[in-house]
Amino acid sequence: MRPIRPTGLSGCRRSAGASDSISTHSARHRRGFSTYAEKRVVAWGAPWGLAVIDTLRLTAEEAAGLLERNEVSGEELTQAYLDAIDERDAELHAYLHVVGEKGKGVPLAHKDLITTKGIPTTAGSKILEGYVPVFDSTVAAHCKEAGLPILGKTNMDEFAMGSSTENSAYGPSHNPWDPTRVPGGSSGGSAAAVAGGLAPWALGSDTGGSIKQPAALCGLVGLRPTYGTVSRYGIVAFASSLDQVGPITKTVRDNARLYEIIAGRDPCDSTTVDLPAPVEIPSAEDLKGIRVGVPRELNEAEGIERGVAEQVQKAIALAEQLGAEVGETTLPRSVDFGLACYYLVAPAEASSNLARYDGVRYGYRTPNNGDLTALYERTRWEGFGAEPKRRILIGTYALSAGYFEAYYGQAQKVRTVIAQEHAAAFESFDLLISPTSPTVAFKLGEKAENPLAMYLSDLLTIPSNMAGLPGLSIPCGLSEGLPVGLQLIGPEFSENLLFRAGHALERAIGFDPVPERLRG
């Protein structure tokens, strides 16, 4: 009998119909980005005449412009990021694997749960140490087809369970604004890489807030797309009904560009749908006619830092100046029950999704495997960190016979209520607005020993996630010298509106995404 390796390497193949839509997709990208050069991002080193690329400041759009005008080659561009990685990643630990593929497009970093063919994919876990996938996730394939070379795979909380990257089996990442602080999580490595100039843009994934919160804590733009718009095929699963991949970028326009590359129905993921409208790259600078709701519970929740609230208040005032109709609204049960509901649904699904890590076919296998039970128990005991173990325990309990209705079943009903509450709010408003995270970046170790305090980091991002809604976090100022994130929530498939509003606010706020301590 042969060893247990896949003999059909592709797994799922996107059908002819789908590849058609993919080629249209790439064709759009080959037309190139429109560029604008407001800031000086390239200096000419006088003695050698070589471009010195300021990776801290360069946006992906600007990078695309440099490539299009042949001011730098793809190789030089990638090299600039590899140099920055050499210089700063020892401090930031944004990457788990640096790949440095050479290519013609703007390079990007993938969160290490995005399956990449031939490149290690560990999901931040020891149990996947040494696992090298034989196939590409759909999003990785889309990026490849769009010509974006891979810089590397970024650090994350193990299996995306956490809000600080401190749950990574490979050590935490550090916030480029203050390396004694966390970059947020679970996509903290992707956020640290972009904020630290180690990647022009990156992909993360968001289950309870894992894109929006690190984007907020690192002064970046993060989109959690509508559930079902981005394929999960090849995304190491945490909680299947919530997981969604999205971009972390310096600007809203970059974000829309990357979203355009990854979004769309995928025959390999039955839960995806066609986008109702093509992605629009935003250019409007006002909010005229947009009704913005301020949900009381999301803005007045206990634990929101005063500095965070102040910056968000300013942004709301600014929105009004830009022409938005701002009004108060309410999501009474969503915030009260959202977190509790999430911590039943997500662990329940995780306990199931993580059952496949048994040491039989790939990944870590205990050396102490006496018999089958020992193989399972010890592999999993030694391979999983504390947080996955905690969630597997909670989730297994919640799904057990006799408890299912009381826990998972009930949580799903509450989820419907949360979705209905949001839908009701969207009858009067086009968008909802709130802080993304109740706090700015906290100190490494500050919450590591207190899982409940850590869970509260996602208090404000979880409710709309439970409803499957898209959310965009943009930076709206500093508190105590650290970035504050503003969360915009829209109805299903309202990404274009989120980009439009996010872009207008971004222009008006004028936030400088380069960490103060790194500004030249």
Binding site: M1, R2, P3, I4, R5, P6, T7, G8, L9, S10, G11, C12, R13, L113, T115, T121, A123, L128, Y131, P133, V134, F135, S137, R232, Y233, G234, I235, V236, A237, A239, S240, S241, P267, C268, D269, S270, T271, A348, E349, S351, S352, L354, A355, R356, D358, V360, R361, Y362, L372, T373, Y376, T396, L399, S400, A401, F404, Y408
Partner: protein, 466 residues
């Protein structure tokens, strides 16, 4: 105490012979070298997702219609969790509270009239991989040195059919299963071969006083022939009877029937945990079989085997009718001319033994052969039947070629036999004509069964009278 009545429910698994597996694009063929039909999906690599096989859904609907089931407008897949190396995801994608097919009724004709066996449900799931235990006894895990897993089978579409506890005897269970198998085969959705595992049967068995409450049942697992299903259930019923007679109680166990010893024994309980932690599969959307699919299944449904048994019964009796239909030979029976009972008997006995595919047979020629069967030796008849599936088979030519009718070839043999059996020759001459049969038999044996018995008979008489 009143005579206890058997209460039997069956759980039948049917592997669908779709081109590809249930949730991936791997070819659905096994028996090849192990682990050659695998991909990241059926090996449960991280991040992979299932995509349901449309054909498998269509075929399950087809089967559901044949079983008189209601087809769910919006069926759900669930995850069923247990730990075993044959289950790479740690869960099987199956169906739970909203199966594709439910509330059916399958009519089993018997000599005493129709028996309606209720169908609780028929649902679609993926098969587990195959574990091979090396070094133990009889391929079982107990005592094995090591185990291998072949994932070629993993992910094969599998339909599970669950009956109401309506079956009342081991024999009825066997008949039900045979009729169900024939139905599945005729739908063209499975080979349904028990010895290959593409049809598998478990039975829930209990006893009760007629009409009284059900008592504790036991589950008999994986009996891999029709005979073992009947024998296994009979053995378990006997065991339960003995337990009750000695004043004991039955405990809810999972048992294995060992045909070698004729006994049932408990399976290692760890292999079958009871808490499967079912929850709706979040990677799949609900299955909504289109109305056209259901209507097409109804439209294309031919006359079911049960009904055909009833039609043939008047002509040849229940047993032969049932045998012909459940063996798929009733179509040939209808085409072969000749005495109805004779044709039916030959088809059920000698023809069945020949292993010839009825579809390949020229019915006219087969009719001629059956007509002439008494004129030819048993072995030659068997040979002729075995050849009846060849395209250019001709009964006349075969009869002419197959049997030794040539006196010059037979005479020396006949002489030898007469010399060697003086006593019998003497008693024939003394008027005991019955010995002739013995002498014919001896000649047939000498010629390896190839002699034409009619000619031998004639020659023997001639010589004995000489």
């Amino acid at each position: 105490m009143a005579e206890l009545e058997p209460v039997i429910g069956l759980e039948i698994h049917v592997q669908l012979k779709t081109r590809t597996k249930m949730f991936c694009r791997c070819e659905n063929i096994w028996g090849d070298d192990g682990n050659t039909r695998t991909c990241p999906i059926c090996l449960a690599h991280p991040g992979t997702l299932p995509v349901p096989n449309k054909k498998a859904i269509e075929w399950t609907v087809k089967l559901g219609v044949a079983l008189g089931c209601e087809i769910a407008p919006r069926a759900l897949f669930h995850r069923k969790h247990y730990w075993y190396p044959d289950l790479p995801k740690g869960y099987q994608i199956s169906q739970y509270d909203v199966p594709l097919c439910s509330a059916g009724r399958f009519v089993l004709p018997t000599e005493e009239g129709d028996r309606a066996i209720g169908i609780v449900r028929a649902h679609l799931e993926e098969d587990a991989a195959k574990t091979v235990h090396v070094g133990g006894v009889g391929g079982r895990i107990a005592g094995a040195e090591h185990s291998l897993v072949d994932f070629n089978r993993g992910g094969t579409p599998l339909v599970e059919i669950v009956t109401e506890p309506d079956v009342r005897s081991p024999e009825e269970a066997r008949r039900f299963l045979q009729l169900l198998r024939q139905t599945v085969v005729e739908l063209g959705i499975s080979d349904a071969e028990m010895e290959k595992g593409s049809l598998r049967c478990d039975a829930n068995v209990s006893l009760r006083e007629p009409g009284a409450e059900f008592r504790t049942k036991t589950e008999l697992k994986n009996m891999n022939s029709f005979k073992f299903v009947a024998d296994g259930i009979a053995a378990e019923l006997a065991r339960q009877r003995a337990v009750y007679e000695s004043g004991g109680e039955i405990t809810q166990d999972t048992l294995h029937y060992d045909p070698a010893t004729g006994r049932v024994a408990p399976l290692r309980s760890k292999e079958y945990a009871d808490d499967y932690r079912y929850f709706p599969e979040p990677d799949l959307v609900p299955v909504e079989p289109p109305q056209e699919m259901i209507e097409a299944a109804r439209r294309e449904l031919g006359e079911l085997p049960g009904a055909r048994i009833r039609l043939l019964e008047a002509e040849i009796g229940f047993e032969l009718a049932s045998g012909l239909v459940t063996s798929g030979r009733d179509d040939l029976y209808a085409r072969v001319p000749g005495d109805r009972r004779v044709v039916a008997n030959v088809l059920m006995n000698q023809f069945a033994a020949s292993g010839v595919d009825p579809a390949n047979v020229n019915a006219e020629e087969l009719g001629k052969l059956i007509e002439a069967r008494e004129a030819i030796p048993r072995a030659a008849f068997a040979d002729a039947l075995a050849a009846s599936g060849n395209g250019e088979f001709s009964a006349d030519r075969y009869l002419a070629e197959a049997a030794i009718s040539d006196a010059s070839e037979l005479d020396p043999v006949i002489e030898r036999v007469l010399e060697a059996n003086e006593a019998q020759v003497a008693s024939f001459k003394a008027g005991k004509e019955g010995v002739l049969g013995y002498l014919v038999g001896q000649v047939m044996r000498e010629t390896g069964g190839k002699a034409n018995p009619k000619v031998v008979n004639e020659r023997l008489r001639e010589k004995l009278r000489a």
